[in-house]
Symmetry: D2
Subunit: 341 residues, 4 copies
């Protein structure tokens, strides 16, 4: 049994992660913590837990977590995980961080996109980017796993093999993404009030979303050269799910859509959580809701020569807590699908 702590268990990703860990046979939860000063019954944030589970979310106490946990999940706001992560690493713990604080390799991107200098830039070199299907080998040996962002996960899984195999142009990547409202977190803001989001749909953070450099880092690493992208996120009136509609161009006119689809199918044939749709079929949010799947569909338009790739994930699972558990499974030698029904 692996002793795990969830630091920041009251938010959407923290409580979803707790739900998964409770169902995981190889895990014992040692701590669920909060920055609040009071004890919170777990059922208050996770009403679906069995009656006989009597867990509490308790005020964060580093020393106590250090004593009992082997692996620490950080579900803290961006820029707050840096210091906490460093401290647990110094204490010899495995750290899986669900924030953005260890995802970017270039420290200069933090002040530009997150508005803060990175407190521990050396940790950025140490961190392994936890895109499971791509970095599985590195994840197996990593002590600091930077769990990917919700928006980057789908497009990165779809584009990585295509850049790696030089099948698409590096100067033409447009990602039109739409996310459910849990993506905005639990804080009270007008945009996520029911009467504002219901029956509505709009773009936000146009050309300035902080996941842009993360997607570019992934594309660039796969392509072996710098890739700049256009990325426009939108807010959907649903609770969960991200659908990304990706516009790219094949590097050669002779490439068919089916050839590209088959490459993705081959690359991910052994992966339990990536599904390539048959030709002519495309992903939808309802197919992945409540699952750790990333569904991918492909269509080449013969009229324009452009390729459209659609990816769908549940933003709280494959886009956050599900992938975090998958990373734990890989790191700790559990079956990759353990803990998912």
């Amino acid at each position: 049994m692996l002793n795990c702590a969830v630091i920041g268990a009251t938010g959407y990703t923290g409580s979803e992660l707790t739900r998964l860990l409770l169902a995981h046979r190889n895990v014992r939860i040692t701590h669920l913590t909060t920055r609040q000063e009071k004890h919170i019954p777990l059922a208050e944030v996770l009403p679906s837990i069995p009656k006989d589970v009597d867990l509490r979310i308790t005020p964060y106490d580093f020393e106590d977590v250090k004593k009992k946990a082997d692996l620490v999940f950080l579900c803290l706001p961006h820029t707050e995980a840096m210091t906490t992560g460093d401290r647990f690493l110094q204490a010899g713990k495995i750290v899986i961080d669900l924030s953005a604080d260890f995802r970017l390799k270039n420290p200069a991107l933090y002040p530009e996109w997150y508005g803060v200098d990175h407190a521990f830039p050396a940790r950025l070199r140490q961190a392994v980017y936890g895109l499971c299907e791509v970095n599985r080998k590195k994840i197996k040996k990593a002590d600091l796993i930077a769990n990917p962002g919700c928006y980057p996960t789908g497009p990165s899984l779809a584009l990585w093999p295509l850049f790696k195999k030089k099948m698409i142009r590096t100067d033409f990547v447009i990602i039109n993404a739409a996310s459910g409202v849990t993506g905005a977190g639990k804080k009270l803001v007008a945009a996520t009030q029911y009467c504002e989001a219901n029956e509505n749909y709009n773009a936000y953070k146009v050309n300035r979303h902080q996941h842009i450099p993360e997607i570019e880092q992934n594309c660039s690493e796969a392509a072996g050269k710098e890739v700049l992208i256009t990325f426009i996120p939108h807010l959907l009136p649903v609770s969960r799910g991200i659908l990304s509609t990706i516009y790219v161009e094949p590097s050669k006119k002779t490439l068919t859509g089916e050839a590209i689809r088959k490459v993705l199918e081959a690359v991910y044939s052994q992966d339990p959580f990536v599904r390539i749709k048959p030709a002519g079929q495309f992903p939808s949010l309802k197919d992945v809701r409540g699952t750790n799947f990333c569904d991918i569909g492909v269509s080449l338009d013969s009229r324009t020569g452009r390729l459209v790739i659609l990816t769908a994930i549940d933003n709280l699972l494959k886009g956050a807590s599900g992938q975090a558990v998958q990373n734990m499974n890989i790191r700790c030698g559990f079956p990759e699908g353990a803990g998912f029904v």
Copy 2:
């Protein structure tokens, strides 16, 4: 008072049009018709009408409509309006057709995109495309007005001036559009069942939606040369509204986003129903719901040089029945905003 008939008043566009005409001071409704054989109280399809309005939707009778109506709105399914429209034109009526049957200039596009040969190709030359702000002068004298499609309206209004002024490249137009479920009409299909559409979002008719040639016709006419586009529609879990996220590239590197925004602002400054958002602000469905507005926002990404244009309309109003009334207003010399609150 203008005598108007609505042919096909039981669907979403027909009943929304009826609602607008009832509130229009210059209009008398002579007929509301259905292809069904029974009389239907209007309140059954339009529960919001005043208690003392005692109108009925009645079985379609060409001769009777011919006798009493001066202007005929056709709210019929695609491919069914051709013959009906021709017949009313022969009878000397003004025809505003809300289907696609008179929108495309090239008859060869009908078998390709709509699966039928056009029965009256000569009418295609006669028809004026009813994109009000662009074709106002022609609409004033037209007897056959082809009301634009819901998806083409927003992008065409945004792109027309930019192509006209050669401000954007003709080989780079990608339109990512998302529509509410009324866009699919009232027929019973699985995809529009509540439990299928609710909490869902997906692309459909990928690279093969029938509005592609209509948008291309508009872009090409404005640009003075053939423009091919990429267009991917998506189904949103809302009842009404279309948001289009348009990716284009300026024709010159020196063009700023603000320069482009100001061009649109100037072009539409006198138009009651097109609103250009201030710099840094973008449209949303809730802002246009229940209105005849087309809202447009612009953002140039200095990193990639790409331009993102967002447009929002209510698909049943500016995207169908509202624009039809606006066309009637223009054609009949009423104030362009008459009939809208």
Copy 3:
């Protein structure tokens, strides 16, 4: 032209009222005010207004409103309208108050249900309860009109005639009501966050909602004796609308459901905004959304002898701002339906 001011124009009822007044031919808006210290373009809270309407919501200034307005609508939070209302009455203005501050006749109910003593109990005797169809004669001469609460409106319209005619028992009134989320107002609270309210439904303020004494006052006045009710409100995942399912018992076993339905039909036959559904048909939110209607349906269960009455309104219209305009129309001698499409 009547000069009107809206005190508190940024909330849901204030902005909806402003929308109606803008479309009202007999009204000139002199002020739209806010408790904030800044000027707010009206389009920010009411995006549907025409482009050429250039109104601003401005910081509240009693003296200026006093100078220019003849009639003042108060859209202030409960307990804040008492003083403001008194001041405008002293200044000789007609006051239509959309809060609860002048609705209850018995001052002792304010500390019990609203947690405050009433500052001007004498005004409670002066105030006319603005349930239009019931109090029309008094409203015509009233200077202080207490606009009814959203929940009380439907049940009061349904039950008033039945109590008046002694057709139902006074010891058996159970109201199960469900409201859309605008009913909770615009303030940021967890319960009205999208991810909390979406796909959810629950009772709240069980047996302690502040509209209980208002409904009881109405029932008691109609019945001529004290009536206590059971009232349970629920939060619906919709933006607008209230459906009330009312369980009562006929006072005589011989009364049929159809007899009761016909009484309601007769009572409201001349009223533009109350519609009694035909036998076997029942109200729904979509039928009244965006309208000032109150729809009422009736069913007597022959097995149990119990009567079920269903009422539906749009909570922001007949349940608030629509009824406020209707009250103004009655008070000022405009046609009762003026200002509604």
Copy 4:
């Protein structure tokens, strides 16, 4: 391993049941059948299943099911399960029927409420009503288990102990229930189209819903005398969940709400799937969504002496397939919570 067949696996209850059985360690699925003539990949109706599950739904073949299955779940439309159930019973199988066909003890109720005579009235005497917490002992030995209806489950669990202990009056039971749209099944009807159900809420089958006699049977059995109820179902704009608001009266004035709440708490203290809310707290759909829980809350109004009881379930789980699995667990000696996460 228990060999199980699901007869009718394409509907909402059939596919949800399949999902549960796939995750159940004690079960092997032998058949998933359809009345259609074609093979359907399970992933088409259940997109969340793991990639490596390669099950198909196949045309129903009695002989083949008979050969391989020990326990048969019937997910057939009402009135179609009678014959199929009888046949499997004759073949010696355990039958768990999710339709209403074996729920009512009095055969005369079938023509009255379901419009058909019962083909095998003797089976009604044999059938055990599968309300798990109430009939656990009988279920252990039953070969024909009539799984309760979605609406009856919550109110029956709440009222059973109170009738049993004579704590509430038998002549005063009013149940106001609201269900998500999956309750209406998958067939294409106008009322469950997205644009009809979205932003809507209404009562249906007013005083004539077929679950009335089932609830009355349960209440009467517990009370030891005939109980008639008032039951009004409503359609909620959510996919899943039923909230019932139950109005009853204590049999003695001296009974407190807390006393009644504590009785329920004691009765269900050992049951894994019934949760009694603490005083002052009430159930909501989101708390039970995706779970097999029935949550129950209680409030006594001291002003009127009336008792309000609220119950919430997921209609597809505790209201159908979840309770079916729970019944199987009880019948086959598995842990009662087996197969639920």
